[in-house]
């Protein structure tokens, strides 16, 4: 199921409700729903945050496949290129005094979803992730 969402943080609740309604209807396990919501939020917020001058909606597509697998696509038309699959160093063992707030979103996505793909062409970026195809649930 596909829907367009306005590019601002007030959209996070409607985005959550959209995905939750789809997953709840098919009785998707909470251990899959939680990381799906988290990955969706992190990706959506990045698209909003890094493209302050873009006004186009963000297109979100949630598809349920067999065996409780959830596939989510977010399309950002007009945003800057931002490869969410690139490795970023996050030192999760650093002591408190060396920690800096921020930078954990992509790290969490990469750890919580099963597959993560990114494509960017002619100003159009698309992120596709899946959850529930076999990786340990949280």
């Amino acid at each position: 199921m596909q829907r367009n969402f306005p590019r601002h943080l007030d959209t996070l609740t409607p985005l959550y409700e959209f995905a939750e309604e789809i997953m709840e209807a098919r009785d998707i396990a909470e251990g899959i729903r939680f990381p799906v919501h988290l990955a969706m939020e992190e990706l959506f917020v990045n698209m909003v945050k890094y493209n302050p001058d873009v006004s186009t909606d963000i297109q979100v597509d949630v598809t349920l496949k067999v065996n409780q697998e959830v596939r989510v696509s977010l399309i950002d038309d007009g945003g800057v290129e931002f490869d969410v699959t690139a490795t970023r160093r996050v030192d999760i063992d650093a002591p408190l005094e060396d920690r800096i707030p921020g930078g954990l979103g992509i790290h969490l996505i990469q750890n919580l979803v099963d597959t993560l793909e990114y494509e960017y062409q002619d100003g159009r970026g698309e992120v596709i992730f899946t959850k529930g195809s076999g990786k340990e649930d949280v």
């Binding site: 988290l38 408190l96 919580l112």
Partner: protein, 97 residues
């Protein structure tokens, strides 16, 4: 929806979903804390990296003053987010019983 308030015993009760849209509310409340504090997550369903950032900022401030946060009644999903973020080494975290 997200709510944060002091409980009768002084603990800080967090409820709902702490996403990026709710961080201003959380940060405004937590900025007023001083000394040792306990956050009760019994009714907190969800937290994203934006919420983690607020917790980290608060913890750094309180620990610098010789105190800190204890977080109790953490559900399994949030506990795993803490684990993937390495927060279990910098916070006193107690799982939901």
């Amino acid at each position: 929806m997200f709510d944060i308030e002091h409980g009768n015993d002084g603990t800080v009760l967090c409820r709902g979903r702490l996403d990026a849209a709710q961080c201003e509310k959380a940060e405004g409340f937590l900025a007023g804390l001083e000394g040792a504090n306990t956050l009760d997550f019994a009714d907190l369903e969800y937290i994203s990296s934006a919420g983690l950032g607020i917790l980290l900022k608060t913890q750094k401030r309180l620990v610098a003053d010789g105190a800190g946060l204890k977080i109790i009644n953490v559900n399994n999903h949030i506990r795993d987010v803490f684990r993937y973020s390495g927060f279990h080494t910098i916070f006193d975290i107690r799982a939901k019983e």
